[in-house]
Each structure stands twice: as structure tokens, then as C-alpha cells.
């Protein structure tokens, strides 16, 4: 569902719409609730990220409903299914929307998601400066890893998802994601 009126980020933040929405070039776009399976997978990734980052205070893990202001000059607020932001880039917990793009964005496909829009969202994250995107497909039990400056890699259940230098030491066997 698309609302008819263009909004600024400030309008969007201060006059909440009923339900879950993202803001794309000033246009509020309603977010369809996820499938149970996709939601649990997103939650599992968030828990792993939170468990990993909170003891070391290396940064912040966010679950599915956090809004991120992806671009300084475009009215775009989007919500990955899980995300990580390095503390160097975000010293304080934000009281409002997260004012920057995350370092890691996780998208979990739901049966209702369309592939073209998912790829467009990944491209937008990378254009906004996200350093690593994990696109998780519960149907094929694969994780596709995107970086702004390296090749795309598809991981299967025998592989290990590794955050590399974006979050050193964070590793999850892909099989655990789909457990």
C-alpha cells in the first residue's frame, strides 16, 4: 500500500502511521508482515548479532523494526530484518531513527516478497554505504552475500556465513540459520 502524500523524514518520524512503514523518496510504503519462518530467521540473526556485539561493545545490533536514514539528501528510511552498526560510526544509542546506514543489513525473503524488489533493496543498501548485505532465502536455504566492492557469493547449508572485516570473528554456520 502506498500513501498519496510525500513526507519528509521528520514528518515520518513524528506522525507515525498505523502499522509498519518504510519511507522511499518521500513516499511511505507499507511493509507486509513477514511469514512466521522468515520472522524467526530474522530474529535468530538478530540474537546472534546481539549476543556477539553486546559483551564487547563493538557496536549495536538492531531487530527488524529499526528505521535507518539511508541517505543524507533523500527522504529514505528503511528497516532491514536485522542490522549491525559499528560503535565508531554511532557512539550513542539513537533516540530517534538511526541516522546512518548500517554496516551490516540482513534481509530475509518471505513468500510474498518479489525478487526484483529485494534486489533493488540490496542495491539501495549498498549505494547508501552498507558494507555487507545478507539476503536469506528460506525456500532455497541459501544466503547470498553482497559487498559494495567484491563479488557476490551464494552460500549453502554446508557453508559458514562470516562477517569478515566488517565484524571480525562473527561466524554462523548456514545450517544453523535454517535450523
Amino acid at each position: 500500500m502506498v500513501a498519496t502524500r510525500l513526507m519528509t523524514i521528520q514528518d515520518f518520524e513524528t506522525s507515525p502511521l498505523p502499522g509498519r512503514w518504510e519511507l522511499i523518496d518521500g513516499e511511505p510504503v507499507e511493509v507486509t508482515p513477514s511469514s512466521g519462518r522468515s520472522s524467526r530467521i530474522g530474529g535468530r540473526l538478530y540474537s546472534r548479532l546481539a549476543d556477539f556485539v553486546e559483551p564487547t561493545e563493538i557496536g549495536w545490533a538492531f531487530p527488524a523494526d529499526a528505521g535507518f536514514i539511508l541517505f543524507g539528501d533523500r527522504a529514505i528510511v528503511r528497516s532491514p530484518d536485522a542490522a549491525f552498526v559499528h560503535r565508531d560510526r554511532l557512539p550513542e544509542e539513537p533516540a530517534g531513527f538511526v541516522p546512518i546506514a548500517p554496516d551490516i543489513a540482513v534481509e530475509v525473503l518471505s513468500p510474498s516478497d518479489r525478487q526484483p524488489e529485494a534486489i533493488a533493496k540490496v542495491a539501495m543498501y549498498l549505494q547508501a554505504g552498507v558494507r555487507m548485505v545478507w539476503l536469506i532465502d528460506p525456500a532455497t536455504r541459501t544466503v547470498t552475500v553482497f559487498h559494495p566492492d567484491a563479488s557476490i557469493i551464494t552460500l549453502g547449508e554446508s557453508d559458514i556465513l562470516d562477517a569478515g572485516d566488517v565484524l571480525p570473528g562473527f561466524r554462523v554456520p548456514v545450517v544453523d540459520i535454517f535450523a
Binding site: 525478487q115 559487498h147 551464494t154
Partner: protein
């Protein structure tokens, strides 16, 4: 380079161009010349597509100069590095841009290409109805296959690229293009 005034598809087609351009939402964007390795790979893929199309008498293979009208209403004309259109959709060649999205679009990365922009182009192809996109990365020696109804899948140089339902029976061992 960006032209200053939005153009219609007709104006874009009628005007003589000194070099390659694409039209994106009415904005003419110059296409940077590709690295010779990338051009060679695109040519090799075109040659395989042409051989397949001739043998099966099933449509048209195009090199990187062809302009495809992806979205009439958005004044968007883009040129994949190689493409295939089924004959049912394009019974005859004309003296204009191809008035539709191709069935297969091939993009070969050059060192100057940015992954975020390449993915954004892939998303646009899928949104325009392209059934199969091959994103070829000569440096990483990989091909990522995108479809509108399946998650991306990355193949390496030991793998064989197939034409799925778009080009039934088409195969290309990737070692033959990553020489």
C-alpha cells in the same frame, strides 16, 4: 556525464550520439567504455547466444549496442552487454530501439563498474520483466544468475552456466570465458 534536460525516447533515438548513452528516467547517461577483457567476454557470450539462436531458430541475440525500452512511461532505454529476445515477442527486426525488455540480459563488469550500480541495473531489468540476468565478474571469475522468481545464485569457473527455461538446452562451461 549527465545531460541537462529530460528527453523523450523519440528525441533520444533521433539524436546522433558520438558515443554510447543510456536513457534513465529521461536522463541521458554516458556509458563508460569497458575493459578489453570485459568486452571480449561479452562478445564470446554473444557468439554462443547467436549460435544457439541460429540452431534453434528461436529469436534474436544482440550485442552491447542495442537499446531496449525497459519502461515506456519512465523513458528508460538501457543496453545490456549482450541480450536475447524470443521470436514470439519480437517477430521481426526494426530500425528502432527494441521496444521491450529482453528475455535475457547479460552484464559484464569492468573494473570501473561499481557493484551497487550494477545491482541496481539488475533490479531494473527484473522489474522490467527480464526473465534471466547473468552478471559476469571477470575479476572474481564468477557469474551470478538472477531470476524474477528465484534467489540469486553465483557460479564459479568450474561450473556450467545453463539457459534455464529461457534458453532450454543452452550450456556454457564458464572456464571457456574466464581464460
Amino acid at each position: 556525464m549527465v545531460a541537462t534536460r529530460p528527453m523523450t525516447i523519440e528525441e533520444f533515438e533521433a539524436e546522433a550520439h558520438e558515443r554510447s548513452w543510456e536513457l534513465i528516467d529521461g536522463e541521458a547517461i554516458a556509458v563508460t567504455p569497458s575493459a578489453n577483457r570485459s568486452v571480449w567476454i561479452a562478445g564470446e557470450i554473444f557468439a554462443r547466444l547467436r549460435d544457439y539462436v541460429r540452431a534453434n531458430d528461436c529469436g534474436w541475440a544482440f550485442t552491447d549496442g542495442a537499446g531496449f525500452v525497459l519502461f515506456e512511461e519512465r523513458a528508460t532505454v538501457r543496453s545490456p552487454d549482450a541480450a536475447f529476445v524470443r521470436r514470439e515477442r519480437l517477430p521481426e527486426l526494426t530500425d528502432h530501439f527494441v521496444p521491450m525488455a529482453p528475455d535475457l540480459a547479460v552484464e559484464v563488469l569492468s573494473p570501473s563498474d561499481r557493484i551497487p550500480d550494477a545491482l541496481s541495473k539488475v533490479a531494473m531489468y527484473l522489474q522490467a520483466g527480464v526473465q534471466l540476468v547473468w552478471l559476469v565478474d571477470p575479476l572474481e571469475r564468477s557469474v551470478t544468475v538472477f531470476r524474477p522468481d528465484a534467489s540469486p545464485k553465483t557460479l564459479g569457473e568450474v561450473d556450467v552456466l545453463d539457459g534455464s527455461s529461457v534458453l532450454p538446452g543452452f550450456t556454457l562451461p564458464l572456464a571457456e570465458i574466464f581464460i
